[in-house]
């Protein structure tokens, strides 16, 4: 491949190439099934949005399923199903991504779709209008979920300045007022090869896959990227509290603290701390983040086994910039939220004071190692991890996790517990259900 510089990344047998237009390509052969997964990642997410355009990254993602110059509008959504494939996309705070997984002989078609998406989106005005109402429906569906409502409020309170403040779906009034030109301008600015990462994992030959990537993407011109929003979150001095009161049946409690970014040396000790507090989830948002082994953890024992909460869930997500470590509890029917909060405070104070025990430490590390194995069970999941971590900054953040995990000490856990779980830096959210106004036939 004469037009690209090549370097070999040994970890996980991944080959990395950078095309002349700046597109980074990863290829990992994996011959356990006759499948290939293609992901195209863009380093743009809701944190990069300007005031008045919240939700534009996510809306652009929706528009990028609406047809391109060479894929007519009515063929977009069947184009991969014809090969038995699945497709999807998601937008979050740091990234936007698209994927297809299908039989490996559909590799060309998958690459064609992603190259079209990068360069030739149509953005017809009619489609913008019909998608506006679809996205508002998505937002309203989320508002039916009290946990999501509380999460939005807590995140907005925890970040008063940084772009992580607003929800990825955006604020309703921005969704009502953004124009086709806002969307198209954003698309043209950020959807350039020098802001993208292409990942191919599956039953493919590495050289052949790189050659095909070059054929499909090599002619797309690099672009000049807009300046990124550089606002940082000021230091927090003192607890913040939010209280949501809406009709409902169940109360929720959410505690959140500023957390280290994925590249910060404290990130892995925090992962271990979270595993000891609420069970290891691994680091694959796409695949494995739910249902952690948690029955012997501190918070489960202090809150669920005491009957105060019916569930507890800790979340430390790998992010490009410092985001949040959060603990969310479903309050047991009839328990005052304050009682649950007091019990959580007590459990967390103990960890801040003396750290975790050697037994907890070893169990947490073993759980994390096991989850790293479990979450690498398919070409789709492996491709996700490569692209996700490269988009955060460096794929070695992923391949280095096992090594970082091996070198963590129990003292590191005590240090991060003291440093990050400070009451003065936290945001506390209550969802307090209130009686609905009278009416209805239910």
């Amino acid at each position: 491949m004469s037009s690209a510089s090549l370097e070999l990344t040994e970890a996980g047998s991944v080959r990395r190439a950078v095309l002349n237009n700046g597109l980074t390509v990863f290829v990992r052969p994996m011959r356990t099934a006759p499948l290939a997964s293609v992901w195209c990642w863009y380093k743009v997410g809701s944190k990069d949005e300007r005031r008045g355009q919240t939700g534009v990254s996510h809306w652009v993602e929706h528009m990028n399923f609406k047809g391109t110059t060479n894929i007519p509008r009515d063929q977009v959504k069947g184009i991969i199903e014809q090969c038995g494939g699945s497709w999807n996309g998601y937008t979050w705070i740091d990234q936007t991504t698209y994927l297809e997984t299908a039989t490996a002989d559909a590799l060309d078609r998958m690459l064609f779709i992603e190259a079209e998406r990068m360069a030739n989106g149509l953005y017809h005005s009619d489609d913008v209008e019909s998608e506006r109402t679809v996205i508002i429906s998505e937002l309203q569906g989320g508002e039916n979920d009290p946990e999501q409502v509380l999460d939005t409020e807590v995140t907005a309170a925890a970040f008063k300045a940084h772009g992580y403040h607003h929800p990825t779906i955006g604020w309703l009034s921005d969704l009502q007022t953004m124009t086709r030109d806002d969307l198209y301008g954003y698309y043209r600015s950020w959807y350039v090869p020098n802001n993208a990462t292409l990942v191919i994992v599956g039953d493919v030959d590495v050289d052949d896959a790189l050659r095909r990537a070059e054929q499909h993407f090599g002619a797309i011109a690099a672009g000049v990227l807009p300046a990124r929003v550089r606002t940082r979150e000021p230091e927090q001095h003192g607890e913040r509290r939010v209280r949501v009161e809406r009709p409902g049946t169940t109360a929720y409690l959410k505690l959140a603290w500023p957390a280290p970014a994925a590249s910060n040396p404290d990130f892995v000790p925090m992962l271990v701390l979270d595993a000891a507090l609420s069970g290891a989830k691994g680091v694959n948002l796409w695949a494995s983040f739910r249902n952690p082994p948690q029955r012997s953890t501190r918070l489960y024992r202090a809150l669920v086994e005491k009957g105060l909460a019916s569930s507890v869930f800790g979340a430390l997500l790998p992010t490009a910039e410092p985001f949040l470590y959060s603990v969310t509890c479903t309050v047991s029917d009839g328990t005052p939220i304050a009682s649950l909060e007091a019990a959580a405070d007590e459990a967390l104070a103990a960890v801040r004071a003396v750290g975790i025990t050697p037994v907890e430490f070893e169990r947490a590390r073993h759980q994390l190692r096991a989850r790293l194995v479990f979450e690498s069970d398919s070409v789709t999941n492996i491709a996700h991890q490569i692209g996700y971590f490269h988009t955060l900054g460096d794929v070695d953040l992923y391949y280095g996790l096992e090594g970082r995990l091996a070198s963590v000490t129990i003292d590191d856990i005590a240090l991060v517990a003291r440093a990050y779980l400070s009451p003065a830096r936290r945001t506390v959210g209550w969802f307090q259900p209130v009686d609905a106004p009278a009416g209805g036939d239910r």
Partner: protein, 431 residues
Amino acid sequence: MTTAVHRGLSPLRRGLANGAAVIAQHTTTHRAVTIHASVAAGSGHDPDEALGTAYFVAKVIDRGTASHSADALGEALDGRGVSLSVGVSRHLMTFTCTCLSEDVEEVLDLVAGVITQPIFPPDQVELRRSSVITSIRQDEDNPAVVATEALMATLYSGGHPYGRRAKGTAASIQAIGREALVAFHRAHAGASTLRVMIVGDVEAGKAVTLADAAFGGWSHAGGAPLAPPPATPGRTRTTQTITMPGKAQSDIAYGFTSVARPDPRYYALTLMNTVLGQYAMGGRLGDSIRERQGMAYYVLSGFDANVAEGPLMVRAGVNPSNVARAITSIDEELTRMARDGVTASELADAKSYLTGSMPRMLETNGGIAAFLHAADFFGLGLDFDQRLPGLLHAVTLDDVHEVARTFLAPDRAAIVVAGPPPDAVGGEPHR
């Protein structure tokens, strides 16, 4: 576009002396093993006066066994990174988990202890009672769950086991004592209906030996599988509106009863459902309601053939002001498909999609275990993955048209809408 050669499964099935069945499939993708087991102790077995018993049992059954206290069991599973999920369907109680291959023997023993020798400690019964009631209260606040449960109650009325609330009610759970949980387990869980799938990085013969060691000593036969009565198809259209103040979106559940899994029309219905509400994000329904009219973030149809006639259900989430329009659009799409059937290209696409997606479905240990379990439960044979493409390809346009005419009848549809009053939500109704 050709599809890749499907390499096929090669599972090993062994009946144990106590009547249990073990199916093992060796894979080498990664160093993990998925265990997927079931017994005929689903919510359909709940006594009429104690709805939610099976669900309650599922929440306590892994909280202490003859050899492990609740804490010891939690530590043994957590220490290996294992999260055991216990769930109930209408027919079955299922136990699933994934472990590292080096831990498979110990984890099989732990899972066997949970299934065969639970002790239902009184303190754990009370703790789980509280969390089950909280879960019921959460469901009552979720318009999608409320709409779906109400639709099932309409389609399967008169106490049919498919129409009852699987979790019960706060009152029914409150009234179920520990002895009722013990009695339910004793009456229904047994080796005669036990199925154990072991899929992953363990040689199949060894997996069967390990399963025999873990489960072979269980001499309790348990109860018979659930044999639900046939469902009675609806004769008239019904519409129920459930008002849930404070919500932003309305959930629509619209459906019919369809066929039982052994019915030969199953494959035609599967293809019809794919065209109607699955293919390329929601099929024809998605194209009309989401793509062309921009009314909904989600709209789809689902088809769940079971031992008795399962539901064929359309679901959508829309702005409250668009409920009537969305229901009209569903009526129109169903009427059109009943009148004209599907096109040759739609049928070909649906066949390509369903057969071509099998390598994806069977890529992971969890996917293989679920597939083998369903194939065994419905008596489809160990080679079902090989036969399924042929069964789908044999379906004709006339077959699909016939099932569309038979089942898609808006004048006999049951419809439930759960959500806020129509005038309560701002935002962006369809213009």
